[in-house]
Symmetry: C2
Subunit: 456 residues, 2 copies
């Protein structure tokens, strides 16, 4: 149902020349990285919590869906306006409000691009560890809404570990400050973490105070290839058994490596290898050097090849790693890109299990991801023009999720539920837990205007 | 209102010989470390989530308050049954259900003593970092309910950073599993962290899955004394500016050091010093040695004395640090022991501000605590027999909280609100945020049986 002239006029009054209803805008702001698309009725670019409060009051009164949108890099359809209504982009709220080196904090608006902030902090000797592979494009607000993880989570944890305080606007238009400016604090219920990862279904984040740490002095990298996936997946717990906590420990299978080499048009990886681990240790110079040598000693036994690098990132390897996801379209134009997590000791069971599920269904697949915290991106590849293949891909995903639950894992480690995983959450959540989540949603958003039909 | 014979009989049927209504039990389980006391009507020691579910169903039906109790070491009255009813002790649910070294997880019942678990893990090369000063006595369930911090939070964060999954029993008797067994996960709203730090007002924790990390190889310690509090408080940010994140950075003032020396009957500290910093760095052997040397170079300029130690803990210093809180009773029999937090750069303003508040009120006071995360224990000392002094002490606390809020701090970093800080939370929480917390409490506990009149 398109918005009435009166409502569009009211929205234009709030957002001035930052309210769009033209076809081009509606098309551009109707999809995200899933390539699922649905047209909204208006796209707004507010610049303050006050404007957002006014928009939400109006939407709440008229029952208009409001879909918050960061940079649109989400992988589960969180920013797709499947019920139409308003897409509320935080792109123009992109100021870094303050960086305090002595307090080890930064205060930012939601539209700040994560990579931009990270770079600015690092130039001052500061470090904001969350590092989703999308960080060059994705925004802090989106990262917080999804509780994004990324490459460094094995040592540093996910986004939620670095959010101290949040300003949010509720569907009623109330502006709330949750959390604090300090590194520690326990006053009141932890509502901040209720909003983190809630995928825009409870309110809109308008400001965040982030915790920083001193920037690690340097890094060392180890790249080791293995004959098969089992060999690399099963060595992960041996590496952690050294007592060293790497700052990244990435796994990739043969298909992932092959796809990247073809995508980047260069022999980045040894395409004969069955799998590989890309490991980074950060810290003080001599320490990282010794740590990577100790890890190398563990990896050596079964590795086919091994190379180490110290100091600045070996760009070739990390750029290649970050390119895996887009590169997979070289094999098939579409993919069901999951982000399951299993207990570390179950990694070999997971990678072998995926093979046992995909091969009989005659599907291409690729596994890669954050082995150090058990978070593997299982990609089932398909061609959307082939109906039967698409159906088989869906069957595979369903079976992968069942396997993950059997291994005491979770169906999403960092991408969120959005719309693409909504049908599967009852595999993981008990009816009682799910019911309580719905109760809280109803308490905060009784008219169900905030990103309806998502997350829970 | 005492419990009817029928209800006591029903409770005895659930808990068998672990239900007590004798005077001695009621007395023993009526107080916590605040020394505030109120008699319950029954004390129960359930051994399973099933028993707890039956107790809560009964209590919910009859509107009987239920106060969960760990080890009773809390400092804000959280375990004191101020409305009578049932004290539900988790002491007998003290099994370590599993420790998985490869998965870096442990599964425990709530009554496990934190120190016992830490020791058992360390003997296996594993590390559970949360380290409240009470860890030799306090239990995991209590730590989770308060989101306990402690000495290592500066580097490792508080309890919430190490809880992956929780089993909780709601006031309705429903048993919920929240969170996961894996290190990462974002499925559904984060209700786990809503329960963490909720001080037993939403339900009872019956099982927890904890995240572990590899045990750091070794530690190095630096103890530096200063002429006055300003000198040590203002050097904290300089130390962090080295890029080294100490695993502990404790501050103590003259009064704290003096009290401990007298309490332990030994010249632990140079009692002429105006203040001191006790700093620990953990990690690999050579690295910690170099790190502590670099920190020493920063501390040197204004320090009066300095000593370093490598390898096993210099027991004398850390035992003394942990004894400060009980030692303060050597000065005055009672204390208002607060745990305020300020942004790191505001530490000097805080310690000077406390002096400016306490001196004109003619009060003894002592400041010590976790300088590395801005969390200082401000202790206002008094004698309960002196009514006027008690009133002045309350005035001082009120002014300290106002100062803390002005400095953008929080009135509690790790002790929680309980009953002792309940009158002050509106200094920090906005009516809107407070209102939402009450709404969630009402949603989960409509009959307000869970630890009534606490936390929010």
């Amino acid at each position: 149902m398109p918005l009435s002239k009166e409502i569009v006029a009211a929205l234009k009054k709030i957002c001035k020349d930052r309210c769009f209803t033209d076809q081009e805008s509606l098309l551009l702001y109707g999809y995200d990285a899933t390539r699922i698309s649905h047209q909204p009725d208006a796209v707004l670019f507010p610049v303050s919590a006050g404007e957002i409060a006014d928009i939400l009051k109006l939407a709440n009164l008229h029952g208009i869906p409001v879909v918050p949108r960061g940079a649109g890099t989400g992988l589960t359809g969180g920013a797709v306006p499947i019920k139409g209504g308003i897409v509320l982009s935080t792109e123009k709220m992109n100021r870094i409000l303050s960086i305090s080196k002595p307090d080890l904090t930064a205060e930012v608006e939601p539209g700040v691009v994560t990579g931009t902030l990270k770079q600015m902090l690092e130039s001052q000797g500061l470090f904001y560890p969350p590092d989703p592979a999308s960080s060059e494009f994705s925004s802090i607000g989106g990262n917080i809404s999804e509780n994004s993880g990324g490459l460094k989570a094995v040592k540093y944890g996910s986004t939620s570990n670095y959010v101290l305080g949040l300003e949010v606007v509720l569907p009623t238009g109330e502006v709330l400050w949750l959390g604090r400016y300090t590194h520690k604090g326990v006053v009141g219920y932890n509502l901040k973490d209720l909003f983190i990862g809630s995928e825009g279904t409870l309110g809109i984040i308008t400001r965040a105070v982030l915790k920083l740490i001193p920037k690690p002095q340097t890094r060392s990298t180890l790249f080791a290839t293995y004959r098969d996936v089992y060999a690399s997946a099963s060595i992960v717990t041996d590496i952690l058994d050294t007592g060293i906590l790497p700052s990244a420990m990435e796994f990739m299978d043969h298909a992932s490596m092959n796809a990247v080499s073809s995508y980047l048009g260069a022999d980045v990886f040894d395409t004969k290898a069955g799998s590989a681990l890309l490991i980074e240790v950060d810290g003080e110079q001599e320490e990282t050097r010794r740590a990577i040598e100790r890890i190398a000693a563990v990896c050596k036994g079964r590795a086919v090849s091994m190379e180490t690098a110290h100091g600045p990132d070996p760009e070739k390897l990390w750029t290649a790693r970050r390119a895996i996801s887009p590169a997979l379209t070289k094999i098939k134009p579409f993919k069901l890109n999951e982000d399951v997590v299993v207990p570390l000791s179950k990694l070999p069971d997971l990678v072998l299990g995926v093979e046992q599920i995909a091969v009989p269904l005659n599907l291409n697949y690729a596994n890669f991801g954050h082995a150090g915290d058990g978070n593997i991106h299982v990609n089932i590849l398909y061609d959307a023009r082939d109906d039967d293949e698409y159906k088989r891909a869906l069957t595979a995903v369903d079976r992968v999720f069942d396997l993950v639950i059997k291994l005491r894992g979770t169906i999403s480690g960092e991408h969120g539920i959005g719309i693409t995983k909504l049908n599967y959450i009852t595999k993981e959540l008990s009816p009682a837990a799910h019911g309580l989540m719905k109760g809280i949603k109803h308490l905060i958003d009784p008219n169900n205007i905030m990103n309806p039909c998502k997350a829970i």
